[in-house]
């Protein structure tokens, strides 16, 4: 199981600013290990963010997103105390869902 995401959601000027740090190798499949063998690709392919049951961002990623991905975005229509739920799924079918309360 991957480590939890670090999510910060703050309400500023009527908009929710969300910053996420995910823990993932984001292995490209092009690198080789010490013995010269290719390391298989392992990367997040899908990211979804919802708030109050409504999707506020969805994304598809390739292996060229940096290791331990950082993501920031903004949306409107939510209040302090609401929850932002973020989930990702990688190319091996592993997934992780975390949430944060809007402050």
């Amino acid at each position: 199981m991957a480590d939890p995401m670090r999510i910060r959601a703050t309400l500023e000027g009527g908009k929710v600013i969300v910053k996420v740090l995910m823990a993932h190798e984001m292995e490209t499949g092009y690198r080789k290990d010490a013995n010269g063998n290719l390391i298989p690709a392992h990367y997040i392919q899908e990211v979804n963010a919802t708030c109050n049951g409504k999707t506020v961002l969805s994304a598809q990623w390739g292996p060229s997103v940096s290791k331990n991905p950082f993501l920031a975005f903004r949306f409107s229509g939510a209040n302090k105390g609401d929850k932002v739920v973020i989930s990702w799924k990688d190319n091996k079918g592993e997934s992780r869902t975390d949430e944060a309360v809007i402050a």
């Binding site: 490209t28 969805s58 994304a59 990623w61 060229s64 997103v65 950082f70 993501l71 920031a72």
Partner: protein, 153 residues
């Protein structure tokens, strides 16, 4: 020639079929949501076509912020903000990476057409911010010099 095979190739797109034959992990193909064809594209044109467009036009209404020189190609911060009306998606492309498309974000109504993230760059290259609106595809580009590549072994 085997007719049904032709039809299959046409329906799935050459790239998808090639990946299937090469033993692409099953989970990827089963999951139709992930656009394997777009992520296999080698150029801006390839990706625009895979996303269902014809061609992308340059636009001054897309703000693409990235460093002029990235010391470490493994972590290049990219910030994109679109001022085009009805922006539906924002994509990040790196021209000289093995596959151009890095990330594709769908922007629902109520979410700002703004994204900040970090990508890997194999070498000095153009970075593209591709924006899809109701009126088609638009892009902004910026060259980022990379002193240490992010994809090497």
């Amino acid at each position: 020639m085997n007719v049904s095979r032709r039809i299959f190739l046409k329906a799935s797109g050459g790239v998808g079929a090639a990946l299937l034959l090469a033993g692409w992990p099953r989970g990827v193909l089963a999951d139709e949501a992930w656009n394997a064809k777009a992520f296999a594209g080698k150029s801006l044109d390839d990706v625009v076509k895979a996303l269902g467009g014809a061609a992308a036009q340059p636009s001054a209404d897309i703000a693409l912020t990235a460093p002029d020189i990235a010391e470490n190609g493994a972590v290049v911060p990219v910030e994109i903000e679109s001022k085009l009306p009805n922006t539906r998606s924002i994509s990040i492309l790196v021209e000289k990476n093995p596959n151009a498309l890095s990330a594709d974000f769908s922007i629902p109504a109520g979410t700002d057409p703004y994204i900040s993230t970090r990508v890997k760059m194999a070498e000095t290259s153009n970075l593209y911010a591709l924006v899809q609106t109701d009126g088609g595809f638009f892009y902004a580009k910026k060259e980022v010099k990379v002193t240490l590549g992010g994809c090497g072994g």
